[in-house]
């Protein structure tokens, strides 16, 4: 009998609730508590724990690693908010907005170290390998963030470059979590590679869907449309459109978000009109389906019981907001 995904989330939240953080110096540690208790879907630790159980590992033994990936994830948000000058995170003031840049910087550093403190509590014989996986994952996330910032000023971003960026920025934490979970359970190298592939493809599907919802989401569901367009961000839709556009369209795509003569609604409409003309919605949907199907296909090849496979499929569907 393995746990349901909901039970795993509960177990994780319980462990998180028992996390001990020093009280002093307050400006170092209070932002960590604030950040960790700010909610979030706990996707990465849950994936780690589901994966470890699917391979016959124990939730209890993997819990320190689950804590590590969640603390690490929240660390990245803290520092990203400084770099993006972001005042709001999960509907509340960001640490950056609440305490300022220096506090967010140093607390973030302490969080990254705290992630390693959690990691150090796993079984000693697993630590060298897991630490390697964790380090590689962590550096990939930094690389992804740097490429993302580079793209803001880069003249031309290819579709391939964009996929490589989100593979680091979004997929790496999921694939790192899944492979650490499998490793802790003693999965074979072959299975670990497959799990990596599963989570990588799933992460791409997830990010591409996020990109698409920015332009084609349902406003009735509370999704605000066009934020990426107004920021002039590179998204899968934008890089696809740029690759298909005429010189004239390309110039419009490049300049619309800074065109002072247009209202926000007009900017969004202008860009979406070109998206529609170039059929990038369909291209994105196809890419999402391709990645999602690839992720699920990997699961069939793993040496795990059907119950574990069902949990991973459930996790994947849930992540994509799909009932079945």
């Amino acid at each position: 009998m393995i746990h349901t995904n909901d039970q795993i989330l509960e177990l994780f939240e319980a462990a998180l609730g028992q996390m001990q953080t020093p009280e002093e110096p307050e400006l170092l540690y209070a932002p960590i508590i604030y950040s960790m208790s700010g909610g979030g879907k706990r996707l990465r630790p849950v994936l780690l724990l589901i994966t470890t159980e699917a391979f016959g590992g124990s939730i209890e033994e993997a819990m320190p690693a689950a804590m590590a990936v969640e603390v690490f994830h929240n660390f990245t948000l803290l520092h990203d908010d400084i770099m993006d000058n972001a005042a709001v995170r999960r509907g509340k003031p960001s640490v950056f907005a609440k305490w300022g840049g220096n506090v967010a910087l140093l607390s973030g550093d302490a969080m990254l170290i705290t992630a390693y403190k959690h990691l150090a509590r796993i079984a000693p014989d697993r630590l060298p390998r897991v630490m390697q996986l964790f380090n590689d994952m962590a550096l990939e996330v930094c690389e992804g963030q740097q490429y993302d910032m580079d793209f803001e000023t880069k003249e031309k971003v290819s579709v391939v470059e964009y996929i490589q960026m989100i593979e680091r920025k979004t997929s790496a934490l999921l694939s790192g979590s899944a492979t650490i979970g499998a490793t802790l359970a003693g999965a074979s190298e072959d299975d670990i590679k497959k799990v990596y592939r599963f989570a990588t493809e799933l992460g791409l599907a997830f990010q591409l869907q996020d990109d698409m919802l920015d332009s084609y989401g349902d406003e009735a569901l509370g999704k605000k449309i066009g934020g990426d367009i107004l920021e002039g961000k590179q998204t899968y839709l934008m890089v696809q459109a740029m690759s298909r556009a005429t010189n004239e369209e390309r110039e419009i795509l490049r300049t619309t978000h800074t065109n002072a003569a247009l209202s926000d609604m007009e900017k969004i409409a202008t860009v979406k009109e070109i998206y529609n003309r170039l059929d990038v919605k369909r291209a994105t949907e196809q890419q999402i389906e391709l990645r999602f199907e690839r992720a699920l296909a990997v699961l069939d090849t793993l040496s795990i019981g059907s119950e574990g496979a069902v949990r991973l499929v459930e996790f994947a569907r849930n992540l994509m907001g799909r009932k079945k």
Copy 2:
């Protein structure tokens, strides 16, 4: 036969020269290379390696940990320069000044992770314990930096609080390096505790001397006098003076650095006049001697050969700029 301290420094520089850093993304990794090749005295890795050899350990086995503490140290400088808005580091533009805050922030994060990447290369059976020491050291350094920033706006800082702050900000990296070196050599818990004490006291002596030289250094030796006074920084001299001052003197100490009616030279002269009157130079010298003697006294109690002890004494004297 163990190596001389100079040989150890050479071996470390050679290992550093072979450090592999990825080329892309350039803005993530170029600042790391720039920072690591910017010189510095390599005090922490050298202390780690001297200590490990003193306890019969091997330089080669300890080298990854030596790299880890040096990369970590440089990471702290990178992020400190953001927090302090510092344009110059080791006579060259800081990463912050050269590339901007976002690059310094993210490169610093990647450096911290890189430190753990080096650490992960030590012998697997030593990794859990060494990682614990490293994590505790790293968090203490963050705590010290936070207390230091807190002190900038704190009404009254006691002498005890000041010592606790520099124990974290300056000593922790030295004591961490020394204990990791001893641990890698398989030293006893008792010896590890003593080594910790040695490096802690030495670090305090070093920082207090640094504080004193800011007010009483030899300008003929190229030491610029009064920087701390002009910045209104808490130093051992200032907290000692504040604890001995009359209300009137205290007010002068508190406000002189912001007194627009005074030139820099007048500000320095005003504060030093009170320092002289309150005899804080002698109090500081006494504290330096006390800490330095305590550090050396610990060495006599270690279970190491005389050659190793000589190297550690040499390191300590060299750190304090003393010939004998």
